[in-house]
Amino acid sequence: MHALTLVIKNIDERTLRELKAQAARRGLTLAQVFEEAASAWLSRNDQAAAVTETDADNEFYESNMAQLEAEHSGSYLVIASGRFIGAYESLETAGKAIKALSPRPAHAILTKAGADSQQVGEWLGGSLEQ
């Protein structure tokens, strides 16, 4: 990775002082702190986009589930950006359809009509962790 030099103007002196103190306590350089902060900020934006899309896709699915299941039983259904993308015979073709979407969604629903159902599992908590 190529490291660049960044100059920041007009940063609040008190904020910078606290930042330096925190960085020193954690044994980090200021560059590492800014990188960590930038990653967290970028990730937060991705997560927010995904949550919104997740809601839209699930609302569409819930509103149209009966019709989709009846018309495409046994097919893989793809829903993205809050709309029905298509019904596909195999998981591979459904995957290709998702890959071809532009712009690329952060979230898509991929379900096999008539086959997927609510599952119950067990997680007994790290049986081999000791």
Partner: protein, 125 residues
């Protein structure tokens, strides 16, 4: 120390998970496929199941709902990609684990004294 299993994950569009091959801790108490930390799960959200089909786990601390997505997994140096489920808790950080959905399709030898776990290959006679 965990026994671990070499796995390589792909999302529903068969795109390689950027972390590549990882050593996933084996958890025989977990009936699912692969559990992931929240951040890592995002890559797989293009193949997510509807919320109503997310898996609810019985745990020692009560029920736990997991976000669930279709994915593909390759184990060890094998060539075969098989469908699996990746999951992350709806609430909570999550962690990398390989569960029984992965284990039940292959032989895994756990050698406690040497802390080694091995994938067992079927041998033709």
């Amino acid at each position: 120390m965990h026994p671990r299993l070499d796995i390589t994950l792909y999302n529903a569009a068969k795109e390689l998970w950027p972390r590549g091959k990882v050593l996933a801790p084996i958890d025989t108490g977990y009936s699912g496929g692969v559990m992931l930390p929240q951040q890592e799960y995002q890559f797989f959200m293009i193949g997510e199941l509807p919320r109503r089909f997310w898996i609810e786990y019985t745990t020692l601390a009560g029920p736990l709902l997991m976000k669930t997505a279709r994915a593909f997994v390759r184990t060890g140096d094998g060539n075969e990609l098989e469908e699996t489920r990746v999951e992350a808790p709806q609430l909570g950080a999550g962690k990398l684990l390989a569960g029984r959905m992965i284990l039940k399709k292959r032989g895994v030898l756990l050698d406690g004294p040497t802390h080694i776990s091995c994938l067992m290959e079927p041998q033709a006679h």
